[in-house]
């Protein structure tokens, strides 16, 4: 093939990704003026992104249920949960702006559950001092994405469904567009844009057990890296404590933290409530010391402290792993999560469970044949959320490459070493809006760049290369390479990490990279998932390497990053973040930068709210 054949589309702002962050960014960009042309590229159909899987709720200090709540407490909770590795300015903006972003959704038609006086109801969640999560049963994410989608389609935004971006186009150090293919016919598309917002979500598909769907192959992080931007905090990968473990086909599917928020307890095979066994010092003052106190908290008693099941996700996941490793797990290698027990304390408990957790009731009934109103669930950790990602400016969400912005999961900074439940939905609203706004302003202040023909040519050649390869000799097809990568990352760079295993992973990644470079694809370009899987290998390998290299470099245990060979915190490393960037020699480099300093007025808040 010589000159690449493609269709060109022009926009002021191109948003890549159509989950909550992407849609919120697109709406914000279109609100910057009627002249702003906005395009949104969705890897799937509109409204199917993983935001729909967010169940528990969106965190915002509305103080509708407990008037002691305010943005300061939300800020302090977020920082403590992130082990003070967060960007304090992002944590501040997030806590301050989340309430308005949630209220705005209501003006666009979202319906949340209500308090008796008709305001938005809020529920308890791990690491949040007060009931803070606005929610709709356990389908908050669906409500949010549908609201944003239905609002967005009336704003003149162009949507490109089932289209995947495989390269950003860079000219004179600035992003000028993107190159991708549409799934239906496999044709190429060049998006010529003055500013680009990455909102592609996570990297869960690098692991065997994950709550993420096929889409989450680290596209945004890898695109940014290839375009010369910096990634940060990539060692901080959240393993959600409760994924389904049985039957095998559903392993990894999320079980909302809302189950624990509604009173669900974790038990080992002996029926022992093991979460009481170890309470981290930073949370001792906030955690209940009896089952009775924990239950009173669930009921809304303001004098009671949180049950230990609502400790932060990193801690809960490690306690579950500890029980399983000690041989005290459930029959299929998990532990028990029991919500049915509340019938001892609550009249009409079964009805209450079905009303508060309808999705979970349905999911276990249909997929596992388990009735959660009368039986415990079997759960275990599942790869869930990337705290790290594209390094962005706190105010504008611009990356280190001009014209390139990032928001939501694919950006880093808000969550530090561990994300609190409910903070991702508020993150994508707050920073989606900011990214869209500042991207539109960037577009207004800068003319269109020049599309570099050689980059389009190279991207097109790379994308078509798998068709020219002869059928696999021994390297395997695209699915095989992907599965081997997932298995290796799961086994060697999972919840519990060691130097030797991760060094083996680096060798494994080099071998997988060589196999990926030889992967053949059969069939033609029309809706060919084998081809798509082959093209997704490149970003997966890039982010897997970034996770592994960062995790090797952090020789301590902190938040979601746990090193068996360095089980303690290292106060020196607690002051640095790890930045991943491509070096001049084309190889991945990890550099140390200081954690952003906390300004005195914010430090005072942290001290006051212990």
């Amino acid at each position: 093939m010589t000159a690449a054949s493609y269709e060109t589309f022009e926009h002021d702002v191109l948003v890549i990704g159509a989950g909550g962050a992407g849609l919120r960014a697109a709406i914000a960009a279109s609100a910057e003026g009627s002249g702003v042309s906005v395009g949104v590229v969705c890897k799937s159909l509109l409204g199917k992104a993983h935001t729909v899987m967010a169940e528990g709720g969106v965190a915002a200090a509305l103080a509708n249920v407990d008037d002691r709540d305010n943005w300061r407490v939300h800020f302090a909770d977020t920082m403590r949960g992130g082990q003070y590795m967060n960007d304090p300015r992002m944590a501040e903006l997030h806590a301050r702006e989340a309430p308005d972003r949630v209220r705005e959704l209501e003006a666009w038609g979202a319906l949340f559950d209500r308090t008796p006086d008709g305001r938005i109801l809020q529920r308890q969640f791990g690491g949040h001092a007060y009931p803070r999560l606005a929610h709709v049963g356990d389908r908050t994410g669906l409500e949010m994405i549908r609201t944003l989608q239905d609002h967005g389609v009336h704003r003149g935004i162009a949507f490109y469904m089932e289209c995947t971006v495989v390269a950003l186009l860079v000219d004179a150090g600035r992003v000028v567009g993107a190159f991708g293919y549409e799934r239906e016919r496999g044709r190429f598309r060049v998006f010529h844009a003055k500013a680009v917002v990455l909102a592609t979500g996570g990297i869960g598909r690098a692991y065997r057990i994950t709550s993420n769907s096929w889409e989450y192959t680290g596209d945004g992080q890898a695109l940014a890296y290839e375009a010369g931007a910096e990634l940060v905090d990539m060692e901080f990968l959240q393993f959600h404590p409760t994924g389904m473990v049985w039957p095998p086909s559903v392993r990894g599917i999320l079980v909302t933290e809302g189950v624990r928020g509604e009173g669900g307890i974790l038990l080992n095979k002996d029926g022992h409530r093991f979460m009481f066994d170890e309470i981290p010092p930073a949370y001792q003052q906030q955690t209940a010391d009896s089952e009775d106190e924990g239950w009173r908290y669930v009921l809304g008693d303001k004098s009671a402290r949180r049950p230990p099941e609502l400790l932060t996700r990193d801690h809960v996941a490690r306690c579950i792993v500890r029980e399983i490793k000690a041989g005290r797990g459930s029959p299929h290698g998990g532990v028990f999560l029991d919500i049915a027990w509340i019938k001892q304390r609550l009249p009409k408990a079964a009805e209450h469970i079905r009303r508060k957790l309808p999705g979970m009731y349905h999911q276990f009934k249909e997929l596992a044949g388990v009735d959660i109103t009368s039986e415990p669930m079997e759960v275990g950790p599942t790869t869930h959320y990337m705290m790290g990602g594209v390094r962005v400016d706190a105010e504008t969400q611009m990356s280190t490459v001009p014209g390139l912005f990032a928001a939501g999961e694919c950006a880093a900074g808000l969550h530090g070493a561990n994300r609190l439940g409910g903070n991702s939905l508020s993150d994508l609203l707050v920073f989606g809006k900011r990214a869209g706004e500042f991207a539109a302003r960037f577009a207004q202040e800068h003319g269109a760049g020049r599309i570099p023909a050689d980059q389009v040519e190279a991207a097109s050649r790379n994308a078509l290369a798998p068709f020219d390869r002869s059928p696999a000799a021994d390297g395997g097809g695209p699915y095989q390479v992907q599965q081997d990568l997932q298995g290796m990352m799961q086994d060697l760079v999972g919840i519990v990490r060691t130097q030797t295993e991760m060094e083996r992973a680096l060798e494994g990644l080099a071998a997988l990279r060589a196999r990926a470079a030889q992967v053949p694809v059969s069939g033609n370009r029309e809706y060919n998932p084998g081809w798509h899987t082959a093209l997704d290998l490149a970003p997966l390998l890039t982010v897997s390497e970034a996770v592994t290299r960062s995790a090797i470099e952090r020789t301590e245990s902190r938040g979601a990053h746990f090193r068996e060979d360095y089980p303690a915190k290292d106060s020196g490393l607690g002051k640095i973040r790890l930045v991943v960037k491509r070096g001049g020699d084309g190889r991945m480099q990890v550099a140390r930068v200081p954690v952003p300093p906390v300004p005195p007025e914010l430090q005072q808040i942290i001290e006051e709210i212990k």
Partner: protein, 251 residues
């Protein structure tokens, strides 16, 4: 559990045929797992649309043994295994490839429905007050995951191909959710009657039967909407008031 044969429709807009694939099945497996296994081991280019694999996104709609289903929520244990399991694309939409259909019509239809139009905020801080029971009334409709299985089974679309005159059960549910939204003030009765063709629905309830979210589409959404539309159009008193120019958009 042994090996099961799947009779999968392979083809595109120009036509196609069923092809048989046998694959081993394990406990708890759903149809979508089998499609992935066949993809990974036998037919790498088998086109399947999917995402969450938990019945929450509505992407993997297809017809399994002739029934519109989400492949991710259809357990093999619930299907007879002594004969091939047929898997084919939805029929109400144009084929793209294999199990994937072109559902873009649905996205276009949605934009023709008058969007949410809230009343002014109730409180000085710009917020509203709503009672849980009022919210609950529309919650059922807002559970919709837009899998379009109801559209697929609706004979007005499936057999009579009246896509240009009828919006289908999904969007009648959508309109009902807006009409019954506690804050909404718009009036969609006239568009429902004319361009959106609510009259074409003759309440066979097939849509309700296939809804994976268990939404009572016909009884709770379509019939109340039909009543509302009929009241507006055919109530003789209202007709007279309208003729005299005295009608007001109360509901």
């Amino acid at each position: 559990m042994g090996t099961v044969t799947f009779r999968i429709w392979r083809g595109d807009g120009a036509g196609g045929a069923f092809r048989d694939y046998s694959t081993p099945v394990t406990e708890g497996m759903v149809v979508l797992d089998a499609m992935h296994q066949i993809q990974a081991e036998q037919a790498p280019d088998l086109a399947v649309r999917w995402n969450c694999k938990a019945g929450r996104c509505g992407s993997c709609s297809a017809e399994v043994n002739g029934m519109p289903k989400l492949m991710c929520m259809t357990r093999l244990a619930d299907l007879p295994q002594d004969r091939p399991v047929t898997v084919e694309p939805m029929k109400a939409f144009p084929a793209i490839r294999d199990l994937v259909t072109d559902v873009s019509w649905n996205y276009r239809v949605k934009t023709t429905i008058t969007p949410f139009t809230p009343r002014p905020p109730d409180a000085p801080d710009g917020t509203w007050r709503m009672q849980q029971r009022d919210v609950d009334r529309v919650m059922e409709f807002r559970k919709c995951i837009e899998c379009f299985l109801c559209q697929d089974v609706c004979h007005v679309l499936r057999e009579h191909r009246m896509h240009d005159r009828f919006i289908g059960p999904r969007f009648l549910v959508y309109a009902a959710a807006l009409e019954m939204h506690p804050l909404d003030t718009a009036d969609r009765r006239s568009e429902l009657r004319s361009d959106q063709g609510i009259g074409y629905c003759n309440i066979t309830k097939c849509c309700t039967t296939v809804c994976p979210e268990g939404i009572t589409i016909t009884d709770n959404a379509i019939i109340p909407l039909k009543e509302r539309v009929a009241d507006d159009a055919y109530d003789p008193v209202r007709k007279l008031l309208r003729l005299l120019g005295l009608s007001r958009p109360d509901r």
